[in-house]
Symmetry: C2
Subunit: 399 residues, 2 copies
């Protein structure tokens, strides 16, 4: 797991727990193009505020990303912002670079002050840990309630060269990303050895994130910290890819695939999740209506507990659709679990179909398809069940 | 527990389970004025469709209410509507009244056909069970996952006479009423021995329901069956109360109190609920913004699991407020648990305050007060925690 032009590393800084990797770094050996999308939550963590500000002005380059788990640095006021600036400076000093080339991400508990002395103390060792194959340690260090690291790789075939995209993500809870364009505390880092034009990098990221991270929902609780960064080292020395190049499509496709794969991994490893369910809502008048209905179903506690019970309780699905604020005609509603129809024209098909559907619900991935029979528009989101473990994890989180 | 002019009763009809009261009736000894509010869910149960249609035309009178638990008669198509008509006719025949004077309510599983032969078989015994003190049996028969019956009574002092309002409710799950005006499968029956003008009855009910049932949220899953009926027998032979009479205010106040008391009971007995939390959002620009934010907080799985863990995890509250789609200023946010301030100007007050707050969260009723510092508008809703038991109850519901 390497990407030309980048080094990575991680250390145990003791930010929240002893003896686990919790401070990580990615280092670009020469200035990398950076693009980003961030949470749309009105309450934004300090590193998100800083990152957005940096990307809003000019075309920044990045030399380093510093990421910590255990503390979100959210709702920490001006001190939180100062702590981000100090982290940037600490990293810049240790790496002998400009602090404006450092980007910071945090995930963990909201409202606790950043233990800056621990970050300061750990910085030399962190820089020392950087190596081409340091991404394993990096992907471990950024986790919180995740049960495992999430990594996806794709090759991008150009005319003469083969580029690579490496994606590393963390997810688990507070997942209902609405990034700007997309969203989760989802942190995602996308690295490529290809050279990209900055504008193209941002557009490609917007498009990939919108079709992936913006379509997953664990609990619908959009995080204060959701961030996706794309860094392009250009180590492959290709002509920087812009929208007008034929290679743009190949890059976009590979980037979208990496994002979709990571998004699915995040749902499957959602807090307490036992399955990933695609909620496909079709036959709507507009795409917006399809989106509202699919998100309402994906957030319904009654629907999600029925998933947990492997109960094809379609009445709850119809009731959730019915409260989404969209005018419906009950008589034209069809509902399927994978290819098994369980509702026909608004009424249940019967217990035999439901028994078959129950079998599908025991799989780790399946699709709930709702056709409203009102038009041609469609939208889908991926969600998980609401389990006893989700409640236990989140009742105990800070204790 | 009696109200002049009304009889009540209940029987074991075996609609879903053997050997429990599940079919109930209220009988008005002479025609009663009726008013109603119904779920705003687009997917409405057959008895709701019928009830709305009846109240939309003219000023109906009611002689009988038939209520069953165990089957919601929702998503049952034209057969469901036929079954309501048949139930009306069965009751009318047994009571020797006009079937247009019979109203029907159902609660229970969605999508199962009504076992009409059982209702037909039980009808003579149901009519036979009617008596002035039959409201105990009635209040038991309408329950589903409720742990106990919910009853509230108030006296209404008129110049010369003292009237009475008796309220009987069921709640538990699928509670996020949005009735028209208000909403839950919440069923509420309000009976008074006073005479009311029909228009006043409907307006008084709208107002009382809006300030009570429309402000509670167990899971936010607005039911297909939520119904509140107000019946006035007029047995007290007072001049029918209209808006212009001085007595209107006294009646409105008593009715509102009954509704508020029942609404609180519904939350406290919500599926798996261990507490009732008032989410008071103030300092907003508009009442609509206060409403959106209070409902978003009340539906946040992360906030509600923190309640369950008695964890004053205020970061989750701020994050939920921040994703409500309303522009916020983090620096002017104050948060209190009862009178204990835990967030000042967007930052945590500290662990001592949180420890105190934790103590309050162990009570069965407490208030979360969020002041956004943006204006003067406010709104409150009452919700409960999201517990392990909620998940267990709803994962197993149909099995």
């Amino acid at each position: 797991m390497e990407v030309k032009g980048f080094l990575a590393g991680a250390v145990k800084a003791g930010i929240k727990y002893e003896n686990r990797l919790d401070l990580a770094m990615i280092f670009a050996q020469s200035p990398a193009v950076i693009a980003g999308v961030f949470t749309k939550n009105e309450i934004k963590a300090a590193p998100v505020i800083m990152g957005m500000k940096r990307l809003a002005f000019g075309r920044p380059v990045a030399r380093a990303l510093v990421v910590n788990s255990g503390n979100a640095n959210a709702c920490t006021g001006t001190q939180g912002l100062k702590d981000v600036v100090q982290t940037m400076q600490l990293a810049a000093d240790a790496l002998k670079i400009d602090s404006r080339e450092v980007f910071v991400c945090s995930t963990g508990v909201i409202g606790a002050p950043m233990p800056m002395e621990r970050i300061e103390r750990a910085m030399p060792e962190l820089v020392n840990s950087l190596r081409p194959d340091g991404f394993d340690a990096f992907s471990q260090a950024i986790l919180t309630t995740d049960s495992h690291a999430k990594v996806s790789e794709r090759m991008v075939q150009l005319t003469e060269k083969t580029g690579k995209i490496l994606g590393i993500a963390k997810g688990a809870g507070m997942i209902g990303p609405v990034l700007g364009p997309p969203h989760a505390t989802m942190l995602v880092f996308l690295l490529t050895d290809l050279a990209l034009e900055p504008d193209f990098a941002q557009k490609a990221l917007n498009q990939a994130a919108d079709a992936s991270f913006n379509r997953i929902l664990v609990d619908g609780d959009t995080s204060t910290n959701d961030t996706v960064y794309l860094l392009a080292s250009g180590a492959l020395e290709n002509t920087p890819i812009s929208e007008t190049l034929a290679e743009a499509a190949a890059f976009q496709e590979a980037l979208s695939q990496v994002c979709e794969e990571l998004a699915l991994m995040i749902v499957k490893d959602g807090e307490g999740a036992g399955m990933a369910v695609t909620i496909q809502v079709e036959g709507c008048r507009t795409q917006e209506e399809a989106q509202i209905i699919s998100r309402t179903i994906a957030q319904s506690p009654l629907v999600k507990t029925a998933f947990f019970g492997r109960d094809p309780n379609w009445g709850r699905v119809l009731a959730a659709a019915g409260r989404a604020g969209v005018a419906l005609n009950p008589d034209t509603i069809q509902l399927f679990i994978d290819d098994i129809q369980i509702v026909k024209d608004g009424c249940g098909v019967g217990s035999e179909a439901e028994l078959q559907a129950k079998g599908r619900m025991r799989l780790s991935e399946w699709t709930l398809r709702l056709n409203l029979g009102l038009g041609e528009a469609a939208h889908s989101v991926i969600t998980c069940d609401l389990s006893v473990d989700y409640v236990k994890i989140n009742a105990d989180y800070r204790t």
